[in-house]
Symmetry: C2
Subunit: 240 residues, 2 copies
């Protein structure tokens, strides 16, 4: 079985794809579902998210650009700020700078698309292992076309869990991610010391960085549902 | 002073750029100049290299696609096979799958463009340190759009040398490269165990992989010369 890590989204994917944007989109997605959201709709642009407003009941719009909330949206992209009274039973429309785009790239060719973060790493690895027949690709969203330490570190954590669950042949991306996982300190150090972690801290969002560093604190794995009633151009995820 | 590592070519560059394609283009470039070639002309396509044939005396065409020599070229891309009787006094026109393209991207915005490999790592770092006023970018060529362990490892070696020569603020790429340098074994292990090292070995080119693993065995730093008489669209490098 092949295990591949793309340090940035690239090319076409095998049957199972784990998409990572640890700071913060996939961590937030896990948390929204954990805290009662019924479903997530990932759009490819903020405009596509705004266009959904009013098309169905119980929608919340969530997202960021450059780390900051998008004007006209209900929520930012804060996992630490997610709470059940707001989210319970709602469908959250999400659009973020990097993570939702990476999910769209993955969904073009991947069969099973899962969202992964440090917070659901063990559950996401188990789910991937249970689904795979061909190969697993872990896709790091990065930050505006640049490789992000937090995503590579998270990919290394997932790869480590997967290697404990079975035999895989690795590519260079997986070798790099595993080496980073083993050499870059504990999750809190790695995320807080990454470029994007430092940037979020300067925005006053250090609590999100700490939250995102929690290792396997959730068993929720956002899972792409195909062929449902999701609006054209959106990806429909539910808790798996 | 900033030190940035691009795990793949990306964006615009500061005043000093070190371009790495350790397996094998930049290792070969160092060796050609070390063994007597007068200059290198890097083209952006094989066709551009072939079109230079006959336009001036003493040209040799060298390059590869998918690791194999290009039909109509005089030489492949083998550092271990480079020898002085063939190269002495000649200008070598080079085109390779990844390395020459990365050099062209770097030259679009970088002021001082140097070619670096493990074999000239210390000399290349010293030259970069001597030239820099703004920042240094280390650019990994990768392999057909995928990050290559051999390039990231080499970037980590260069970063380590640079950090021993002065203070730098690092980006995530530099943090990842340094972690890989420290965690991925000695140069021979890292290169031989990389995807492209394994592929070259299956092609019978293991001697090139061993040659490319030699750490700081040369003091030649191929250096871009601007405004000379190089043909349009080619990059002119000489030993620096």
């Amino acid at each position: 079985m092949k295990l591949r890590v793309d340090l940035l989204p690239h090319g076409s994917y095998p049957d199972v794809v784990l998409v990572i944007d640890a700071l913060r989109a996939t961590t937030t997605a896990v948390t929204y579902l954990e805290r009662g959201a019924q479903a997530l709709l990932l759009t490819s642009t903020p405009e596509a998210a705004l266009a959904l407003r009013g098309t169905r009941d119980h929608l919340l719009l969530a997202g960021e650009r450059g780390g900051l909330p998008i004007p006209g949206f209900d929520l930012g992209n804060s996992p630490a700020g997610a709470n059940t009274p707001v989210l319970g039973g709602r469908t959250v429309v999400m659009n973020t700078t990097n993570g939702t785009g990476a999910a769209h790239i993955a969904a073009q060719s991947g069969k099973h698309v899962l969202l992964a973060a440090l917070t659901n790493a063990h559950a996401a690895a188990r789910r991937a292992r249970a689904l795979v027949t061909e190969g697993i690709a872990i896709v790091c969203a990065g930050t505006e076309g640049r490789v992000g330490l937090e995503d590579v570190y998270t990919a290394g954590v997932l790869a480590e869990y997967l290697l404990a669950m079975g035999e895989f042949t690795l590519d260079d991306g997986a070798r790099i991610a595993l080496t980073v996982r083993r050499g870059a300190g504990d999750p809190g150090e790695a995320l807080a010391g990454s470029d994007h972690g430092l940037y979020l801290t300067t925005l006053g969002l250090g609590e999100d960085v700490r939250f995102a560093s929690g290792l396997s604190t959730s068993t929720v794995v956002p899972t792409l549902v195909r062929g449902g009633d999701a609006p054209e151009g959106t990806l429909h995820f539910v808790a798996g």
